[in-house]
Amino acid sequence: MNALWAEIAAQIQTEVSADSYDRWFRDIEPVELDEKTLTLRVPNNIYQLWIESNYQTQLRSVVMMALSSAREIKYVFPDETAPARPGKVRALVPKTKPEPVETKMPVAGTNGFNPRNDFDAFVIGPNNQFAHAACKAVSEMPARTYNPLFIYGGVGLGKTHLMHAIGHAIVAKRKQIKVVYITSEAFTNEFIDAIQNNTLIKFRKRYRQADVLLIDDIQFLADKGRTQEEFFHTFNTLFDGHKQIVLSSDRPPSEIANLETRLVSRFEWGLTAELQAPDTETRVAILRKKAQSVDIKVDDAILQFLAERIRTNVRRLEGALMRVASYVSLNNGRAPGLEKIEHLLRDILSEEARRAITIDQIQRRVAEHFDVRLADMTSKRRPANIAFPRQIAMYLARELTKTSLNEIGEAFGGRDHGTVLHAHRLVKDRMIKDERTRQIVGFLDSQLTR
């Protein structure tokens, strides 16, 4: 539940001002969660008053987003919670589970690890075996094996989970080791703050004296020149001092646009591990594990259905499971039929259908539209009447599929990723300038995603 709250808190942080967050939300602890209410422990009654009067709508909608259904929010103050209420209420996380980091790190703090994200909770499949093994090795012998370790993969495939798991494992083993976990966005913000308030020395001390530095979503460093420079020096200091650095991104280093080449080359220095979308078996395994960890019972048939229909994103997969679970609990334990589930998850499923487009389909559709041969999509010939449709197809492939630039290039007759990137940019430019191109691309897009 702490993890859940961390998620909620992080969302609230984006909704209210930093000062308000520090003042009203930082000290909240989640106490209980059941189907109807979420109980929060606040230091005293002014918190309840002020949150209810001023942040109720935001809090409710964030809770609703996180839990997929609305909850009434209750507050308790320390002296009222002393006698724990026994009863049917169950905690989302079994209470016996040890959560070593939790006491040491603030739940929603920038260096707080989500206690749910440990290695045990990570479901290994062929898609992530390699990345998992690399992370495990790093956590066992920081700075000895792979340094830096660069993990990349699409949204919701477990990058952050692995980062947290590394943090957990290291802290659990050696308490005095200094682990710093931060997203590159927070790193940028702290850096800017440090410049503003003249506290660069403190800032540098914090990062350059870390034993293990975990930076999440490094792709956000793109376009941030000075932060990149600062990070470059931080990187060098740590690397030279034999400290472990782990980075994550949604794409490989070479594909992060506007990242200085000296950083790119450094990122590629150690080990680069990719996380791919899980296959169906792995997805079923993930769902089972999730269902088990939150203590809900869902039919295997339903799990299978979810795993088959939701392919790209583990987070979404788990969200769908939670939605089904809340449906079950609201209907007194009656499991919904597949039709009902389809209705329940219609938004997710249609989004997924959009993702299931293949490059092959795109090529066919584009060739048909421009009346060129399908073979021209992959041929080396490049007269304008063929080249432009091909570029549009590449653009659509990049936009509508999750395939990497390299793979797209490959599918278009062994072109390299630069060509694809160029095509993408060119089409994008034309779309801005040329009404007709915009219409064609829009039309093809709607045809493909229908």
Binding site: V16, S17, D19, S20, R23, N44, N45, I46, Y47, L49, W50, E52, S53, N54
Partner: protein
């Protein structure tokens, strides 16, 4: 019991006490005023069991005694009587005959014994404050009292006696008003009490410009002695929220406002805010504030105000009513508005120890 008194005195005495009498009451005796004639004084007392007021007027007492009479009816009669001497005689059955000039009234009362006595004052913690100072402080805070009955601890003003200071606080969760008053008292007397709204309203009416008011605080009640008049009230039980948590630590931007100009401008612009979009937006640019409001399907209003402002450009929206409330009761020519950013509370301050925290509205 028999006494005679001038119309003005009796009317004034009744007006002092009659507000406490509630119009809807389950106990008939509570709509009556207790009249006690003794020596050369006629004492009038009313209560609703939570708050009680007792005042005294000089009268010519021919026969001492006590009775209770319907307060509103009596006041209505006295108000309409000609300005002359009024003679009141009450028999043993509590039937009152009121004579004034050619007028004669007979009204039925209830026995004195049925009237719930005001709480006795014992050796309580006592404090002495200038009447005007307290009245002023109540005026600066009482508008922020919550009317939400589910939050009963907020249905009153916190009187916090600490470190030779009396701090008055009122809040409704979206704004908070606070005043500090210097009061001398020993450490052993430090106490926090919550005085209910009704008592606060009565107190505001009773306090004058001169002289002192003496407070005595007991376990669950408080009494305010103002000259001959006594106001006693039950206290709201419970812990007042830790209001200090609400007060922003430091401001990033401060603007000095001419109170009346600003108040009038906000008042005008607020005419085009509605219940639905109940906010006025303040847009700060260099040496200028633009106050703006708009309601879809109705219209919009804007007004610019030249001010000394050198901070960053930003805008913030407030509930116009909440923004105007403190400005109306303050008397200073200049007030300060401190802000952090568009999503953090604004704070209105003046030279003396007063503070008003106001939460911003979300700018959509």
């Amino acid at each position: 019991m028999k006494f005679s008194v001038s119309k003005e005195k009796l009317l004034a005495g009744l007006q002092t006490v009659q507000n406490v009498v509630s119009t809807r009451t389950t106990l008939p005796i509570l709509s009556n005023v207790l009249l006690q004639a003794e020596g050369d004084q006629l004492r009038l007392t009313t209560t609703d069991l939570d708050v009680g007021v007792s005042g005294a007027i000089t009268a010519q007492i021919e026969k001492p005694g006590a009775t209770t009479l319907p307060a509103r009816r009596l006041a209505n009669i006295v108000r309409e009587l000609p300005a002359a001497e009024i003679i009141v005689e009450v028999d043993s059955k509590n039937v009152a005959s009121i004579r004034c000039g050619q007028s004669f009234f007979k009204i039925l009362g209830l026995p004195e014994e049925e009237f719930p006595p005001l709480p006795k004052q014992t050796d309580a913690r006592t404090f002495t404050i200038g009447q005007q100072i307290l009245r002023d402080a109540l005026k600066k805070t009482s508008y922020a009292i919550s009317t939400d009955e589910t939050r009963y601890v907020l249905n009153g003003i916190l009187f916090s006696f600490k470190e030779n200071k009396l701090t008055l606080v009122a809040t409704d969760g979206r704004r908070l008003a606070m005043v500090d008053i210097e009061v001398e008292f020993p450490r052993s007397q430090e106490v926090d009490i919550i005085v209910p709204t009704k008592a606060v309203t009565e107190l505001g009416r009773l306090l004058g410009d001169e002289g002192d008011v003496r407070l005595s605080v007991e376990e669950n009640q408080v009494a305010f002695q103002i000259g001959d008049t006594l106001l006693a009230s039950k206290l709201i039980e419970g812990n007042y929220p830790n209001y200090r948590q609400v007060i922003p630590a430091e401001a990033k931007e401060r603007v000095t406002l001419e109170r009346e100009l600003f108040l009038n401008a906000v008042h005008r612009v607020a005419l085009l805010s509605s219940e639905k979009s109940n906010s006025v937006k303040l847009v700060f640019t260099k040496n200028n504030i633009e106050i703006a409001a708009n309601t879809p399907d109705v219209g919009e209003a804007r007004e610019s105000l030249a001010v000394a402002y050198k901070g960053r450009e930003f805008s913030i929206a407030f509930n116009p009513e909440f923004l105007q409330a403190p400005l109306r009761v303050l008397t200073n020519d200049e007030v300060y508005l401190d802000m952090i950013d568009e999503m953090s509370p604004g704070v209105i301050k003046i030279q003396s120890p007063f503070l008003y925290v106001l939460m911003p509205m979300r700018i959509s």
